[in-house]
């Protein structure tokens, strides 16, 4: 029972275009969501987050959208660059985590940005 799902294992986009990565969750108690990026042979690095009191958060080329009614979030990268090619994980947490910071991760989506 995967509580956080990334249903697209891979995505290929042309340089300069928009990349949209999707994530669905089942637990309506989740109230904080994060995106991490992972290059091969490196650990994941934090990219952007959003609290459930917002529906959008923007940081440079990266924007995360949250649709609570649909239990869906998406990461938009505009414009996409070849250096964005990586595996992207979404993650969620909720009140049940308390102050432990425990996260539930999705399966990951591999993004390839072609020059």
């Amino acid at each position: 029972d995967q509580q956080v799902k990334q249903n697209s294992p891979s995505l290929s986009v042309q340089e300069g275009r928009i990349s949209i990565l999707n994530c669905d969750y089942t637990n309506s108690m989740f109230d904080y969501f994060l995106w991490y990026k992972k290059y091969p042979a490196e650990g994941p690095t934090f990219l952007i987050s959003i609290s459930s009191i917002k529906d959008k958060n923007e940081d440079g080329r990266f924007t995360v959208f949250l649709n609570k009614s649909a239990k869906h979030l998406s990461l938009h990268i505009v414009p996409s660059q070849p250096g964005d090619s990586a595996v992207y994980f979404c993650a969620a947490s909720g009140p049940a985590s308390g102050n432990t910071g425990k996260l539930i991760f999705g399966q990951g989506t591999t993004l390839q940005v072609k020059p």
Binding site: P9, A41, G43, F46, T100, G101, L103, Q107
Partner: protein, 111 residues
């Protein structure tokens, strides 16, 4: 910058061996975590610790144990390694209210 250091990048062990994976963070973080990453399964939490000598099971603790004797160090122990524990192991630490910071991982192969 937060630095989370995992002692080995690559490790090869034999079935039945006791295996120790070490993780050290330099930012005095309270919370530390051990995950394994497998294709198609994402990151799955094995154990986490919210203080020295305090630990809690994650989603897949079977076959593993942990030790946190000092705040900066969190060790993952495979009591008797098996081939299904071949995986990428990732350690993370976190300051309260902040995102987790990850080490570069240990790719463990059990033969």
């Amino acid at each position: 910058d937060v630095k989370v250091t995992q002692s080995s990048r690559y490790l090869v062990k034999r079935t039945g061996e006791k295996v120790f994976l070490e993780c050290v963070q330099d930012m005095d973080h309270e919370n530390m975590f051990w995950y394994r990453q497998d294709p198609g399964l994402g990151l799955r939490l094995i154990y986490f610790s919210y203080d020295v000598k305090m630990k809690e099971k994650g989603d897949i603790p079977e076959g593993y144990s942990v030790s946190r004797e000092k705040k900066e160090r969190f060790s993952l122990i495979l009591e008797s390694a098996s081939t299904n524990q071949t995986s990428m192991y990732l350690c993370a630490s976190r300051e309260y209210g902040q995102p987790q910071h990850f080490g570069d991982g240990t790719r463990l192969s059990i033969l």
